[in-house]
């Protein structure tokens, strides 16, 4: 891309990023299929990085406000670490089952891929159920987001992560329907790879949440 546009065209002409290659033939060149997605995959990756900044800012807020209990409950009073461990494992399992789905996708095993995606969705759903139960529990204890600065930043940080997992799960269901209807087309494969990045990324954010919010909060 360093060639001057005014100069003679490089060999083979200019090549710009194309999201949908109009000359792409289905089934042709299967091996390189995923490496054609420069535009979409890179764009989605940059979206993830911007999402990462959102979470980074929420983590910074929690770092600043996380010990301002306003004479209210502290993390040690509220958090049940054993349940957090369970939901952490739900997310970890969902990450590896999604990985298996991607491997099956690359081998064009649609049925096995869909089964692994369904398992992933179930683990994701179990994580969300645990989270909703925890939020309900906190709410009933009077530890809503308005109780203290610590709880405000806790609810916004963990809530934003939960919202992302919810969106990811809805996306997963939609993708399953699309694969069921259209089969493992080129477009569907690309969508599955995007959701794969999203899903693993959410698991990565959760590492920060359980280390920083839960484990550190309870230790302090």
């Amino acid at each position: 891309m360093t060639a001057s546009l005014a100069g003679p065209a490089p060999e083979g002409g200019y090549q710009f990023y194309v999201t949908e290659d109009p000359h792409h033939h289905e089934g042709h060149d299967d091996h390189d299929e995923h490496h054609h997605e420069t535009g979409t995959m890179l764009g989605f990756w940059i979206y993830l990085m911007s999402d990462c900044l959102i979470f980074g800012i929420l983590f910074a807020v929690h770092a600043v406000l996380g010990t301002s209990y306003a004479a209210g409950p502290s993390p040690a009073d509220l958090f049940e670490i054993d349940k957090i461990l369970l939901s952490t494992f739900f997310l970890l399992f969902s990450s590896i089952t999604y990985g298996f789905a991607v491997i099956n996708m690359q081998q064009d095993k649609q049925r096995a891929m869909m089964l692994w995606l369904i398992v992933t969705g179930l683990f994701g759903g179990a994580f969300l159920v645990m989270e909703v139960l925890e939020f309900q529990h906190l709410w009933h204890l009077g530890a809503g987001p308005g109780a203290s600065a610590f709880l405000s930043s806790f609810w916004i940080l963990v809530g934003t992560h939960g919202l992302h997992v919810t969106c990811g799960s809805i996306w997963l269901v939609v993708l399953l329907a699309q694969v069921q209807m259209q089969g493992l087309t080129h477009e569907n494969k690309r969508r599955i790879m995007c959701l794969s990045l999203f899903w693993h990324f959410l698991d990565l954010i959760w590492i920060g949440v359980f280390s920083f919010v839960y484990l550190t909060g309870v230790s302090l």
Binding site: H34, F100, Q106, V218
Partner: protein
């Protein structure tokens, strides 16, 4: 422009996913064990272990699950990741540093509190 990268295993194999999973599980269990079993370590050591293992686990996820490689997308993937990491360090370190100092300076001194308390 590289749209064609013959990166083998660029999206992983069963083996690499399982290695990543096993590493993640152990890196998750250790900090939880330290907190749940009330292991006798000082707070700073406990925090060091929690954050250290958390950081390692994030790297494990980036490598084994997100498959970030220096070569992918002409290097733009790794480049944007490093850029984001730098921004995060600035945001986190900066906010914490500023706010901790602010907090300290806003904290009323002991004698001030006493003076207010003894007001008629």
């Amino acid at each position: 422009m590289s749209a064609q990268q013959h990166g083998h295993d660029s999206h992983g194999s069963y083996k690499s996913y399982i290695i990543g999973f096993v590493l993640s599980v152990s890196l998750t269990v250790v900090p939880f064990w330290i907190v749940m079993a009330d292991v006798e370590v000082s707070l700073s050591i406990a925090l060091l272990i929690i954050f250290g293992l958390g950081a390692i686990q994030i790297l494990v996820h980036v490598h084994y699950f997100l498959h970030v490689t220096v070569g992918a997308e002409d290097g733009w993937q790794a480049m944007s990741l490093v850029f984001t990491a730098i921004l995060l360090v600035i945001i986190l370190a900066g906010s914490i540093w500023v706010m901790v100092h602010l907090h300290e300076n806003m904290m009323p001194a002991h004698e001030q509190i006493e003076r207010v308390r003894n007001l008629p």
